[in-house]
Amino acid sequence: MENIIEVEGLNKKFPPDTHALNELNFQVKKGLTFGLLGPNGSGKTTLIRILVGILRPDSGKVIVFDESSKWSEKATKIGYMTQSQALYQDITVSENLDFFATIYGLSTKEKRKRVEELISLVKLEEKEKSPVVTLSGGMKQRLSLATALIHKPELVFLDEPTVGIDPSLRIEFWNYFKSLNRQETTIVLSTHVMEEAARCDELVLLREGKLLAQGTIEKLLAETKAKNLEEAFLALEESK
C-alpha cells in the first residue's frame, strides 16, 4: 500500500528548552485510520501542525502526498480539525460551513449539497440557523468535524476529535471514519484515550516527543506480550 505521509528524522524545539519532537521516523499508508497515541504534552498536536504545514520542522524530512507539489495545492486536499473548536462563534452553523466550503473553492451547487450532507451527518439539522455561540460543547465539536470534511479531503487530520461527544455519536463518528477509509480517504487522528486508539488501523505511540513504537494493534500487543494497549504502552515506556 502506498504511503501518503513519510517522516524521517523530524525534530522540533520550542524555546527555551522544550524538545517537542525528537528524531521521529514513521510512515502513514493511504486509506487507513492512523492514530497518534500519547499523553498530553507528548507532541501529538505539534506533529499534526507540522504535517498540515502550519509549523516548520527544525530538521528532518516531512513528505505529505509527494515532494513536488506546492503546499497551497496540498492544502486543498487536506482537512484539519483543531483541538480547540475553531469556529466563528457569531455566525450560524450553516454560515460556518459555507465559509470553509468557499475557502476550499467549492462551487455554489457543491457547497449547498455538502453543507446539507454534513449538517445531517453531525446531526445539527435543528441548529442550522443558530449562531455557534448558542451551541453546546458537543455540538461545536461536531460542527468542527464537519468544517474539516466539507471539501471531501483526501487526507484528514483530527486532533482529539471525539472529546466531548456522547458515546452513541462517537460510534457514528467512527463508522463514518471507516466509510471515509473505504473511499480511500486517510485519517490521522490524535488521542490520549486507549479505547479510541484501539479503533485505529495503525498507531504511533509518542512520549515526550519521542516515538516509542509504530504498528498495528496486533503487532504492538505481540511485541510487548501485553493484553491490551494500555499495558503495551506502559511496557514500551519502561523499555525505553
Binding site: 502550519i54 497551497s72 486543498t76 487536506i78 484539519y80 473548536q85 475553531a86 470553509f100 475557502i103 487530520f157
Partner: protein, 367 residues
C-alpha cells in the same frame, strides 16, 4: 459577609495584577505619558505668524516723500504670540496658502495720503481662516499690537478678509474633518485587532493557515470587510455633521472617502499587527491609551501641529492621523483638490504599505 473570603478575592486580584507586568506598567506609565503631552500642549503659547505689507506711496512734502506708515512699521514688535514678517503681497499670498503665515496685514498705497487728508486709511487683514478660534485670537492681537499705534483708531478702515472659511465658520467646522478621520481610524483599529485576536485565540486562524488561503488574501479580506463599515460610518458622520450640526463642507465627498480608504487600510493592518502582541481582549484595549489617545491629542486635533513644542511636532509627524486630519481639513474646509493634499496622501499610502508589511510579517506570530 466573610472577611476572609473578601480578602481572598482581593489577594487574588493583586497577585494577578502583579504578574501582569504590561498592565502594571500601563497603570503607571500611561497617565504620566498622557499628562506630559497634555501639560506640554496646555503650556504652549500659540504663536501666530503675521505678514506685513506696506504699499504706502507716501505724500510729497517740501522735504521729499514722507511715509506715515513707516512709523507704524517701525513700531511693530514681536510678542510672545505674534511674529511679524515684512513681505511683499505676492510672497504673503503664497505664504498664507502654504501655511507659513496665519494672516497678513496690508497698508494700501494711499495710506499716508488718507491720513494727511483726515480720511480713513485702508488696512486689510487677510486671515487664513480655517480655524475660527485662531482667527478671533489673531484679530484681537492685531488690535492690540497694530491699531494701538494709530492716534485715532476709529479713523482706520479695517477690512477683514478670509482665505478660507469666513465669519460664518465656527469651531465645529474646524473639528468636523478630524472627527471623521478619528472615528474611522479608532473603530477600524479596535475592531480589527479584537477580531484578529479572536481568530488567534479561537484557533480559526490556524484552520485558515492549514487551508489554501494565503496571508495576502486574509489581509485584503479583512480590509474589505471593515472598509464597508468604515465608509458607511463616515458617510453617516459626514451627513450628520453637514445637515444636523450645520457644518460647512466645501470639498468633494469622493475625496473624503479616498482619504478614509487609505487610512482604513493602515488601521486594519495596524490592528492585525498589534493583535500579535496581545494575549487577550484586555491587552488590546490597553493599546488605546498608547496608540489612539496620543494621536488624538497631538495630530492637530486640539491645536495645530506647528504650534506644539518641537518634540511633540516630531512625534506627530509619524502619526497617520496628522496627515489624515490635514488632508481632510484641506478638502472639507478649504475646498482643496487631491493635488493640493498630495503630500498627505503619499504619507498615508506609505503608512498603509508599511502596516501591510508588518501585518504580513506578524500574521503567523504565535500560531
Amino acid at each position: 459577609m466573610s472577611t476572609g473570603r473578601t480578602l481572598a478575592v482581593a489577594k487574588r486580584i493583586i497577585r494577578q495584577l502583579v504578574r501582569d507586568r504590561r498592565t502594571l506598567g500601563l497603570i503607571v506609565i500611561v497617565p504620566l505619558l498622557l499628562l506630559s503631552i497634555l501639560g506640554a500642549l496646555f503650556k504652549t503659547t500659540r504663536v501666530f505668524e503675521v505678514g506685513f505689507i506696506n504699499q504706502d506711496e507716501g505724500i510729497t512734502t517740501p522735504f521729499g516723500t514722507e511715509k506715515i506708515s513707516l512709523k507704524i512699521e517701525n513700531a511693530l514688535k514681536d510678542t510672545d504670540n505674534l511674529k511679524w514678517h515684512k513681505s511683499s503681497l505676492a510672497q504673503a499670498k503664497n505664504d498664507l496658502e502654504t501655511g507659513l503665515l496665519d494672516t497678513y496685514v496690508l497698508l494700501d498705497k494711499n495710506f499716508s495720503k488718507d491720513i494727511s487728508e483726515r480720511k480713513s486709511p485702508r488696512v486689510i487683514v487677510k486671515l487664513e481662516g480655517s480655524d475660527p478660534s485662531a482667527s478671533q485670537q489673531i484679530l484681537g492681537l492685531i488690535n492690540q499690537n497694530l491699531l494701538s499705534s494709530f492716534s485715532d483708531q476709529k479713523l482706520v478702515d479695517l477690512k477683514v478678509e478670509y482665505l478660507y472659511g469666513g465669519e460664518k465658520f465656527g469651531t465645529l467646522d474646524y473639528f468636523a474633518p478630524v472627527f471623521i478621520a478619528f472615528f474611522a481610524f479608532f473603530f477600524v483599529f479596535l475592531l480589527t485587532s479584537v477580531s484578529f485576536l479572536r481568530e488567534r485565540s479561537q484557533g480559526t486562524i490556524e484552520r485558515l493557515f492549514a487551508s489554501p488561503v494565503n496571508n495576502t488574501e486574509i489581509v485584503i479580506g479583512y480590509f474589505l470587510g471593515f472598509l464597508i463599515f468604515a465608509l458607511i460610518q463616515s458617510l453617516i458622520v459626514l451627513l450628520f455633521t453637514i445637515y444636523v450640526l450645520d457644518v460647512h463642507f466645501l470639498g468633494n465627498i469622493l475625496f473624503v472617502f479616498l482619504i478614509e480608504l487609505i487610512l482604513v487600510v493602515g488601521a486594519v493592518n495596524l490592528g492585525i499587527f498589534l493583535s500579535a502582541f496581545a494575549r487577550n481582549e484586555l491587552q488590546v484595549i490597553q493599546f488605546i491609551p498608547v496608540i489612539i489617545i496620543p494621536q488624538a491629542l497631538i495630530s492637530g486635533f486640539i491645536c495645530p501641529v506647528k504650534s506644539m513644542p518641537m518634540l511633540l511636532q516630531w512625534i506627530s509627524y509619524v502619526m497617520p492621523l496628522t496627515y489624515a486630519n490635514n488632508a481632510l481639513r484641506g478638502i472639507m474646509i478649504k475646498g482643496m483638490g487631491l493635488a493640493k493634499v498630495s503630500f498627505d496622501i503619499y504619507v498615508l499610502i506609505f503608512f498603509a504599505l508599511l502596516m501591510i508589511l508588518l501585518a504580513s510579517l506578524s500574521i503567523r506570530k504565535g500560531v
